[in-house]
Amino acid sequence: MIRALVLLIALASPALAQETIVSGLSQNRVSITADFDGSEILIYGAVKRDAPAPDGKPLEVIITVEGPSTPVTVRRKARVAGIWVNNAEVRVDSAPSFYAVATTGPLRHILSETENLRHAITIERLIRAVGISAEAEQSGEFIPALLRVRTNEDRYRVLEGKVELTEDTLFRADVVLPANLTEGEYKVRLFLLRDKRVVAKQERLIGVRKEGLERFIFNLAQERPLIYGLISLALAALAGWGASAAFRLIRA
């Protein structure tokens, strides 16, 4: 009897995870070169099934793209003695430098709060700010302000309905990476959902790196700062002298 039950469960459990993701990216590395002006990434994929698609709730897809996280300081201005000054700040332990979430429909209709907590899908779930309530009055307003500022900078985006799903099988989404990208590993996550619950999940990485001249200048500045400073000065001196000499020639 017990053996039969175990067998039943063993047979039944693949049925729960019967849908898996097969995906691809238009590029898995982004090179920041001197003429870099943003980039568009195409994320596409298909749903692989061992059995016919289950009936009932429709299939939904959520795709997230997440840049490297850093600590940030959020400051608030207030009027003190007639002038506007920063008089309150909170330190946020970690916030992504870039975050886009693309979906097939409105997030609150396709994703339950428990699943959001578990998988950290909406941007609010990715910002870690422990103990900010002690740092400033009305500390609850700082995190929405951070989201607002970064949304205005095109760093945070919610692209509801921007994932195209065809025949409950093929899906694709375009995510535009802005020009002011931070270097690092960008994490792409793909979720399949049914009945507001995640049924399949996949993760991929996009490497964003400076290349060529950008790489050279950046490395020099970090690794040989004194030499870098002196080269900057030499260039400035040379340019100043060169312009002066050139103008004298023109006038002569």
Partner: protein
Amino acid sequence: MQLYLPIAEVSVNAFLILGLGGIVGFLSGMFGVGGGFLITPLLFFIGVPPPVAVATGANQVVASSISGVLAQLRRKGVDFHMGGVLLAGGIVGSAIGVWVFRLMTAAGQIDLFVQLSYVLFLGLIGAMMLQESLRSILRARKPGAPIRRSHVHSWVHGLPLKMKFRASGLYISVIPPLIVGALVGFLAAIMGVGGGFIMVPAMIYLLGMPTKVVIGTSLFQIIFVTAFTTVMHAVTSQTVDMLLALILILGGVVGAQIGTRVGVRLKAEQLRILLSLLVLAVAVRIAVDLLLQPGELYSVAPGVLP
């Protein structure tokens, strides 16, 4: 043409930067100011992060000052003795300024401190210069008015350690130029500028130097102060953006050459009125920012964990 800046990590229009450098260089050649008080706020405005704007602005000022000094040198408009004494004071002042800058940064109020310094000093100096040059123009138009001597003897001339400054035609104590240099160096470090806009009126009104040598000597002194600042920033915070500096410089050195030639054609009073109006305009612009309610009360800055 969009260009991605490796240190600032933003993409900017190369021609816009070239134009910015050109305009600032033009003004710097014309008035003998480094232009740091213009370039830094302008770079903020186009989205370059403030630390990169301050450090790269300093690098650009080095180039336009060298270009300007070379043009002045041929007109014998540089007093090297005076420049050296001012510089000696300037280095001391700048070291103290860097220390105060660090204290204010730790207190989290550096933005306000820098803005208030801009409003206070630019406003004060602009207003003083405007009033003085307007008065001298009015006096020149009135026939029979008493002729003002280029410099009057005062307590300044009673101080010890006198030295001859041949190019300026002065025989004064080295103490006032040392103090002036230190004061300018201090403010320069705090405001992230070369300090020419303070140095020029200080040399004219406090030291009584002839206008002919003021611009060249000021530029000469600025080269060293900003060169020092550039290397300091490159070493301590890696915020000098070479690519940004290079484009600013290309525009700036050409602008400075043209500016110097235009400056020669203008009368000293006219030059001073224009400079004072420019200085006042920047002061008013920053004051307005402080007085009006900003559209977004919150700001986000990359922060390190305590």
